[in-house]
């Protein structure tokens, strides 16, 4: 089940979301390359000690780290388990 769209940086470690789109066209290209493809499940694993960058697992396969400012450009839907 999914609900209205929000941004990835608003979620906390432990939560999973579904990639829905991007706010920034230029950055979206690089994010998609790294696996942030619409429809993919992204789980937030942890935040670095000072809250940034964040570490996420993509599609249950591999881990990626990105800055909060970059996470703020990823539109997501939260998954209610």
């Amino acid at each position: 089940m999914s609900k209205a769209t929000s941004i990835l940086s608003e979620f906390s470690p432990g939560e999973s979301v579904l990639v829905d789109g991007f706010k920034d066209e230029e950055l979206s290209l690089k994010l998609m390359e790294m696996g942030f493809v619409p429809g993919t499940v992204v789980k937030i694993d942890r935040e670095a000690p000072f809250g940034c960058p964040v570490c996420v697992t993509i599609g249950g396969d591999y881990q990626v780290s990105l800055r909060k400012s970059e996470a703020a450009t990823v539109l997501v839907k939260s998954i209610i388990v």
């Binding site: 998609m32 390359e33 790294m34 670095a48 000690p49 780290s65 990105l66």
Partner: protein, 697 residues
């Protein structure tokens, strides 16, 4: 026949390259850029030999670094000498979806493609099974299962390679949107292309193609403007299109079992990225690495040093006593020996860094440090260049290429030479030994060791400060790009570790070596010749002035007199007024001038100036000589605390290294940044040394 190996970073591309080519490989550069090009020969089952080129790892054909740029440049230019007849795209089957993007892009460019599925075992462990036959039926190009680490499936790959070189199949899936069709057609006509996708790349990123000249780029710009072609919109749409195609393909062929998380890596991250333990462990590891570097390199460095001195003495004994012999021994061998001496230290430091990178830990350090050093204009990814800078700034500046944002990369390049490199160490050691008493504080910490550590720390802190100032001045609006993969923890591949060490040491020896070779010859000329005939007549003049001198003392006095009257001596005296406020006399001035090209020359020059015959690199003799040196006007020791500390601080900050200037020029593509760097570091060095001397004197 040329075969390109292409794949994401960590896809096992390099392992496959080694399996395909065995030991028949050589390393060069792609033309015009210092990006490694590994070429090897693979023998196919028919006996035919093909040339295999290992390309830099990349996630897509949209480059963010010079290394990735090479992939784009070669693959989009059929006239390029390295343009392949076929591309093997190596993909990590355990995260197939992301890896397939590059495959689709390469294949769409019209290059016959073979897909090599690697790491199927890891995928299977994770519950993912891939139906190779179905995938092949969908993609319409050969799909081969391999295990690059173990070398399994390599023969099968070679077999399919032979077939593919004949059939030349590609996987095409890009459909041109109606709004772009006119623009693409115009480019195809203007540049005589027949591949739509290639033409669309001209439009999307033609400004990055190094094989097009400015007028051609203008033509592309004109076409894009005329037809309202938006590169970023096109790229985003086409990437999405690829992923739709990939998802459709993988739906039928990939069976995902139970979804698991990489538990072990996750557990380790909980500790290694912990807000307290993470930093404790990182600084602990850092401390261990540096300790190991200094402790282990001591002996080999002594051997090399001794060996070079022996070689020089032997050459002087067997060769006729001529100017040429002197040039060879005192000039060339002494200069090049100074470079070779640093190899053990640099090799050990890069071994440490390579192990940290190979194990997957370095990526965590990047995460740990990013926010902390971002306020200084740097990125977490600057940690590797900064650490490498303690060995040698040349490979360190090059390693800044991984930093995705230009501003952060530039700041990193600009501040890395402030890290105290191996070449500063001999200067530090000799001057510290001269003025810091060999006693310990609280019976534990040696005072000399603490001073040395303080100098390294000063270098690091000034790098942060310089970064902070640059960030404030530059205020770039360009957004940063940080996103990176966090690899799972694994045991280092030792072959890869040794290869990295070899690469870095080679860069250091060749980049620094050629400059130092040239400089040492120039230096030798400047120090051996002078205006007038005072140099030739030195023995008579000195003997007449000091009739009591004889033997070694006379020889020393003569060479000292000769140096004073050489061109180098005149230069030293010319700059004396400028360096007097720092506490230096004209003799130190000579050493400053000579070490301008490479700071490691300083100690060697000092030993020449204070005319120590024979074993020229013996620290104790130099130290004793320096200690005895007295200012003729005041009668005080020249190397007192004030002058020595002033010199130490000067060398912490001064950008005295031609090789670094050259590499910064290359990496920033112009003289602007190396000149600014030289300027700010020189001012910093002069002012700090001035302050230190005025306070301490």
């Amino acid at each position: 026949m040329k075969v390109a190996l292409i794949g994401n970073p960590n896809s096992g591309k390099t392992s496959l390259f080694n399996q395909l080519t065995g030991l028949r490989q050589k390393v060069g550069n792609f033309p015009g850029v210092t990006v490694d090009k590994k070429i090897g020969i693979a023998k196919l089952n028919s006996g035919e030999k093909v040339e295999v080129i290992d390309f830099p790892g990349t996630y897509s054909i949209y480059p963010t670094s010079i290394d990735e740029q090479v992939v784009l440049d070669v693959l989009s230019n059929p006239k390029n000498l390295d343009y392949p007849d076929l591309a093997i795209v190596v993909v990590d089957a355990s995260n197939l979806k992301r890896n397939m993007l590059l495959f689709e892009q390469v294949s769409n460019l019209g290059i016959p493609t073979v897909l090599a599925l690697n790491m199927l075992d890891t995928a299977l462990d994770a519950g993912t099974a891939v139906d190779t036959l179905k995938l092949e039926a969908h993609l319409k190009v050969p799909v081969v299962e391999i295990n690059a680490r173990e070398g399994i499936g390599v023969n099968g790959l070679k077999l399919r390679l032979e077939q593919a070189l004949v059939e030349r199949n590609v996987h095409e899936n890009v459909e041109i949107e109606e709004k772009d069709a006119a623009a693409i057609l115009a480019v195809k006509e203007a540049f005589n292309l027949d591949n739509n996708y290639l033409a669309s790349q001209y439009l999307a990123q033609g400004d990055k193609f190094s094989f097009l000249d400015e007028s051609e780029k203008e033509i592309i710009k004109g076409i894009a403007q005329l037809h309202g072609f938006s590169p970023s919109a096109f790229q985003a749409a086409e990437t999405l299109g690829h992923f739709q195609d990939i998802s459709a393909a993988l739906k039928e062929v990939v069976h995902v079992g139970t979804v698991r998380v990489t538990t072990r890596t996750n557990k380790m991250d909980a500790i290694l990225l912990h807000k307290v333990w993470g930093y404790v462990i990182f600084f602990g590891i850092l401390f261990m690495v540096f300790n190991a570097v200094f402790a282990l390199s001591e002996y080999p460095m002594d051997w090399i040093d001794g060996g070079i001195a022996d070689l020089n003495n032997w050459l002087k004994a067997v060769l006729p006593d001529s100017k040429l012999t002197s040039l060879l021994t005192d000039g060339v061998i002494a200069g090049v020996g100074g470079v070779i001496m640093f190899i053990p230290q640099i090799a050990l430091l890069f071994a440490g860094i390579a192990i940290l990178e190979e194990s997957g830990y370095m990526a965590r350090v990047v995460v740990l440090m990013d926010k902390l050093i971002r306020r200084f204009g740097l990125s977490g990814k600057s940690v590797v260049p900064l650490m490498s800078g303690i060995g040698c700034a040349v490979p360190a500046v090059m390693s800044a290429r991984t930093i995705g944002s230009w501003q952060e990369r530039l700041v990193t390049i600009m501040v890395t030479p402030l890290m105290s490199c191996a070449a500063r160490l001999p200067i530090y050691t000799i001057l510290i030994a001269l003025v810091v008493p060999n006693t310990s504080l609280f019976g534990v910490f040696g005072l000399q060791g603490l001073t040395l550590m303080g100098l390294y720390l000063l270098g690091f802190l000034s790098a942060l400060m310089a970064g902070y100032v640059m960030k404030k001045i530059m205020k770039s609006e360009k957004r940063s790009f940080f996103v990176m993969e966090l690899p799972t923890y694994k045991a280092p591949r030792w072959g890869q570790v040794f290869y990295t060490i070899y690469e870095k040491v080679k860069t250091f020896v060749f980049e620094a070596g050629k400059v130092i070779l040239a400089i040492s010859i120039v230096l030798w000329v400047l120090a051996s010749y002078g205006p007038g005939d005072k140099i030739e007549q030195a023995p008579e003049i000195v003997a007449a002035a000091n009739p009591a001198l004889e033997g070694t003392d006379l020889e020393n006095a003569v060479s000292s007199f000769q140096l004073e009257n050489s061109y180098a001596g005149y230069f030293g005296k010319a700059i004396e007024p400028a360096i007097k406020p720092l506490g230096y006399d004209w003799k130190i001035g000579i050493a400053l001038i000579t070490s301008f090209a490479a700071r490691e020359v300083f100690v060697g020059t000092m030993s020449t100036i204070y005319s120590i015959g024979g074993d020229s690199a013996d620290d104790n003799t130099i130290k004793a000589r320096l200690r005895r040196e007295v200012n003729p006007e005041t009668g005080e020791a020249v190397f007192n605390t004030a002058t020595s500390f002033s010199l130490l601080i000067f060398y912490v900050f001064a950008m005295m290294c031609m090789s670094t200037i050259a590499v910064v020029y290359r990496e920033t593509k112009g003289w602007k940044w190396p000149m600014i760097q030289l300027g700010y570091m020189s001012v910093l060095a002069y002012v700090s040394a001035f302050i230190v001397y005025q306070i301490l004197k």
